[in-house]
Symmetry: C2
Subunit: 294 residues, 2 copies
């Protein structure tokens, strides 16, 4: 029986170290510093942990998967840096520290984000060059690019910006959550599964699991913003309300929003039942994602 808290802690230490080690050792230090600033601001490392947990669940013992895990976090961090820019969400705080452009200026923040996205794909290439993993690397890259691109994260950010100030509908909110947050969370699971040579049945079960926990996570995020304080969140609380962002609790009320998150959580657990291997790691992770206070 895996103790989920210990697992998360152990993996976070590993991931933090590996993320730092893979930052550029050459090129202008200013941009590496800006990349490091945003990476070291912390965060739960949820996406790389999902990569590792999916692979661990399927019994993989290939340590090179850490390249894929780091790539997912780099993509996530790049998206935070660009989302915080004055032209986008104009956010001064991120993970309790000044956002990248507040410290390094807009130009460097744009370039640091670009560099993290580029580095992510370089890591997938590194992964693929180890022991003939070319075919798997290419599949992982396709998943990651689709999740990060116009039909995923970038598309979600565009819809989010478009929706600002307009009349929010539940359909819009769900669509934005699915694209902006859900796509990369889902890709994390699928990339881990691909690296671990998942069978098509395992892939199907994990795909359902992944499609449920993403929106559930976003609902909880919205709820924490809705109810929380700046200190707890590490970013300006109530920022979504101030900017008239469409969120689940604003539309449904906090109780109904939480109920929906729990339904999604239960659906995710049910999907794991059809896996042919013990999945307490992924069920435990889902629980941590839903029943969290920050």
């Amino acid at each position: 029986m895996i103790e989920i808290g210990q697992y998360l802690e152990r993996k976070k230490v590993l991931i933090d170290r590996e993320l730092a080690e893979r930052l550029p050792q050459s090129g202008p230090t200013l941009v590496s510093d800006a990349m490091r600033h945003s990476l070291e601001a912390g965060g739960k490392r949820l996406r790389p942990i999902l990569v590792l947990a999916a692979a661990d669940t399927l019994g993989s013992e290939d340590s090179s998967i850490i390249e894929v895990a780091c790539a997912l976090e780099y993509v996530h961090t790049y998206s935070l840096i660009h989302d915080d820019l004055p032209a986008m969400d104009n956010s001064d705080l991120r993970r309790g520290k000044p956002s990248c452009h507040r410290v390094y200026g807009e130009a460097l923040a744009i370039l640091a984000g670009d560099a993290l996205l580029t580095l992510a794909f370089e890591l997938i290439a590194n992964y693929g060059r180890q022991g003939g993993k070319g075919t798997k690397a290419v599949k992982i890259m396709a998943e990651l690019a689709a999740a990060a691109g116009v039909t995923g994260m970038i598309g979600g950010q565009v819809l989010d910006l478009e929706a600002e100030g307009s009349d929010p509908t539940l359909e819009k909110v769900e669509n934005i959550a699915k694209m902006k947050t859900g796509a990369l969370l889902r890709a994390a699971i699928l990339c881990g599964a691909i690296a671990a040579d998942a069978s098509s049945e395992q892939m199907r079960a994990l795909n359902i699991y992944a499609s449920k926990i993403g929106p559930a996570f976003q609902i909880i995020d919205d709820l924490l913003d809705y109810e929380g304080t700046t200190e707890e969140l590490g970013k300006p609380a109530g920022a979504d309300q101030t900017r008239l962002k469409a969120t689940y609790p604003a539309l449904l009320g906090p109780e109904e929003a939480r109920r929906r998150a729990e339904i999604l959580y239960n659906d995710a657990l049910k999907a794991l039942e059809s896996l042919d291997c013990p999945a307490e790691l992924l069920s435990g992770l889902a629980e941590k994602m839903i029943y969290r206070t920050r």
Copy 2:
């Protein structure tokens, strides 16, 4: 004997069509429109043509290389969009048309650039999924990511921004040119060569060729900006001087700058002599790159 003008024209028509076809068909149309705006503003399509020309020179007949060629142009176009942003070079004109952020606003321009970079890697993944080209795709991806990243294009842009207004030296100018323009031009040749299964000797020759034509191309670019008019250039002429950018003609005078470009051009031609196949395509291309008026 290949007529180089005809080759360029034929390939440009092909590339223009394929670039348009690979733009996202789903996701928010606003971001696809912004991507299309900057792609359709034209340009010589030099990078994708170099990909195709390198592969053609080595006798490749694999048509899926067009994915790689388009990826190179997407990366180039993304870099133009981000470089033009107010926080960077703050340029209102690009290729004779209003720059992306002038038409779509800063947020969309940042996201359109991000999306083009992401799409580029998706195309490399597509290339790799066709007929077991995983290993080659992974090598191409590594080249492209290195050329686009902190030790290449992004690093060059950082150095360029840092150098602004400071005392320019020839060493700085050479380094910036090598990273900001040279790296991606070189990658175009090498990616084409990898796709065409170049031998290590062919790779060596093409690497030298590629390392020479990049800086030569940049010198001519600087010269055209130095001497040209806005109408000829499609971007504000003399912009580099106004912003105290370090350029070759500013440092060396136009005659010496041109002489250096010609030395690099001759070195590039010499490298082609050690190729074991006819290389008039690449020598013709180098000539066109150096003896151009826009």
